[in-house]
Symmetry: none
DNA sequence: CATGAATGAGCCTTCATTCAT
DNA sequence: TATGAATGAAGGCTCATTCAT
């Protein structure tokens, strides 16, 4: 029993090792510019061993994406436990977003890749579902807060559906992240701290949605301080001073 | 003379033909899942002929993207001629965005592709510059209106730089387009008209930015009607009735 | 008549132009590293025009080689008219060799190429024969002098056949030329004047063959002076002072 | 241990197999007229397998040439151990030359190919150096004997440098080999035994250089007999009766 | 006659995947 | 179970040659 247990553990550890290195490759070089041989070399296992864990290169890459997405959802979940007014709570999600972006810079590059290639055909059905599930989890966690905001009267509920509001928040976040990646954009728009920009845009969208208390009516730096203390005490990300308040 | 003229025209026509089919391939199958032979077959020319027009597959694909981006910039330019309050004018850009998205659904898929691969290394310098120029043109046209909004006092100028505002608008637009492509997202968020969603999110962002007149204070359906009449009389896109006003 | 004459002349001139440039390409880049398009560009005619003169790339290259070989044979013929003892006369051929090598450095590179590729299959039969004829002409001119040397008693006729002697002379000449091309050889053997080396080796071979008067018994610098005066007054090649005598 | 040993052996054996067939192709068809697929077919391995051994077609071909050159240098080395007068010793090298030519007829075709193409750019640096090293080894072994000949007073040392003498010997040998390849030359010069012709020309050159004892003053058939006995007992090449002595 | 656009066979090389050991 | 040698399909690109104008 203990032997088989250890085997399971070792197998999991190795899978983790592979995924970690694959993630590095994926972020740095995209999908084409590396091959399974190089990955095998990097993790110090044989090529064949990789195929004991993943059915194909696409399968492996999808696993990388899913694992990241799961971390993201996990962070969202933790952020969901934050208490306070609903706008404070959605802000916690935004914080989680940034925490995630910090430890996974360029994650969206990977995510984008999934949209174009023939990953989905070549990946395992199981893994496909796993990925969609994590995506749905992220959406749901935001959606819950949105719905509560409407119930609480913080957020108008007669203008838009809760789904549309959720979508708007997701869109502004994803868009901000992606455009931040663009070096030309950074230059031209004078963006020196991409993550802060993401948060700012989220704030603007919340204000636009009429989610109270508006930026002008509340001291969100206090919220952030509490959030950090209660939920993300070990946050790696160092938030700069907000000037927009 | 007439002969050489015709030749030039025929060459241009064929280039158009190639670009058109390449665009179709790109949208439907991404970059990997087709090859030059198939494209040659589709346009009914020989492989070598393709290479009389484009130096490499990457070069060709970049040309596809640039052509689309140019159309986008052209539409922005036309929209820029719209008169009225600055918020109305930025709305005209948003309208142009939608007009573009209508005739180029999935354009952003192509654009995203450019971010990840090693296109840029393998494409001609000329074409690289052409692409960046069109991108800059789009940004600048929006930026001009933002700056005027600030000058006119429609848009607060002490909270954010004009570049940050522009970036926020770009981000929400791109993000909305991209997320709309996601079938899962459509389903889960109940999005039936993606383009309307994009416009709505732009509106929300403008409100969030405090760009007056706010959605609640102005009848933008009248603006839209005038815009259609004066600038886009032949708009292919049929805007649904706005419910958010 | 005058018109058709001019046409013939123009055609010949153009063929000459093409051959001249092709020779340059062949010498500088071998057979592979240039294409018909580049050659057409260099001579300022269209690709198709090249094919009005030559049936294939191989055919063209063979023509280049043959033309050079003909010049070589022509020089040999002129050298053959030199009078004096047979060893002086064979020396005249050696002089012709060097004169040729001077105006066609690296000619042997081209000649070597002919040995390996599938030129012969792809070239016209006519051209094949032309090439062999010029080669035979060169051989014959040397052979005649060798035979006369034997008849005159300058060259032993009981040790070797006249053909073998001729072959030995050809071999030492070709070998010296080819090895001179080798940069490494130049370096290692300290060869600063390849052509002089060729002549020296020819001399050594003649001595080895016992062709009188031997190097030690005759003032060949006087022979050379007369040769220059009588046969090659316009020799481009400036012979260095012979030290071996 | 035994397993890995066998693997190494098998790998070496296959490399040998590939090189052998490549050599055949190279000799029979030059560099252009065959492709890697055909070679793969000939050795009954897949195309990809070839690339496990060699980085490119050029690399492979250079390896063929180097391997042959190494054998040549090895034979030279063995010949160098022959004792006797220096002219006898240089004759031993000539013998080695012929022994090599016998087992590698047409080797010079391959060697010539290396001079013209862009092999050197596309081949591995390692292999480039290996080739040059073997070439230098051949030259050095001859050079040593030449220098000793001068020291011993067998060879005049005031007429030519030792390097020039070495070069002359190399030139006559290479030239004789190459011209022997020419079918037309064989015919016209009545060469029935090319190798004997090479040796004869070497002898003539030695005589021309004044390397004692001259052909007329020494019984080299006795030397040859001893050479065969002491150094090349298993010589595959059957020397014909020398008529020139 | 001269052109040069169009052709398409041909080739080297890569690399995901398999499977015998 | 882990390996890594072997595979061979696939694809981008070149270029000699043709032929309609």
């Amino acid at each position: 029993m203990s032997v088989s247990e250890r085997k399971v553990q070792e197998r999991a550890a190795r899978e983790e090792l592979i995924l970690g290195h694959a993630r590095g490759f994926l972020l740095r070089r995209g999908f084409q510019d590396w091959n399974m041989e190089q990955l095998a070399g990097a993790v110090n296992y044989a090529k064949g061993t990789l195929y004991l864990h993943f059915e194909s290169k696409e399968d492996l890459c999808l696993a990388v994406a899913t694992r990241a997405l799961r971390e993201r959802a996990d962070l969202f979940e933790r952020a969901s436990r934050f208490t306070g007014r609903t706008r404070e709570r959605i802000r916690a999600i935004g914080f989680a977003c940034c925490e995630f972006a910090c430890s996974h810079p360029d994650y969206f590059k990977v995510e984008l890749m999934l949209k174009s290639a023939s990953f989905w055909e070549k990946a395992t059905e199981t893994r496909r579902q796993a990925h969609q599930m994590e995506g749905a989890r992220c959406f749901r966690l935001v959606h819950e807060i949105v719905k509560e905001g409407m119930r609480a009267g913080d957020l108008p509920h007669d203008r838009m559906t809760s789904e549309s509001v959720t979508f708007a928040l997701v869109a502004v976040t994803v868009g901000s992240h992606i455009m931040s990646l663009e070096p030309a954009m950074k230059l031209v728009a004078g963006i020196d701290d991409p993550i802060r920009t993401v948060r700012q845009n989220q704030d603007l969208m919340c204000d636009g949605l009429g989610w109270r208390p508006l930026l002008a009516d509340w001291d969100y730096s206090a919220t952030d301080a509490r959030l950090r203390r209660e939920i993300f005490p070990t946050a790696t990300w160092c938030e700069p001073v907000t000037t927009a308040g």
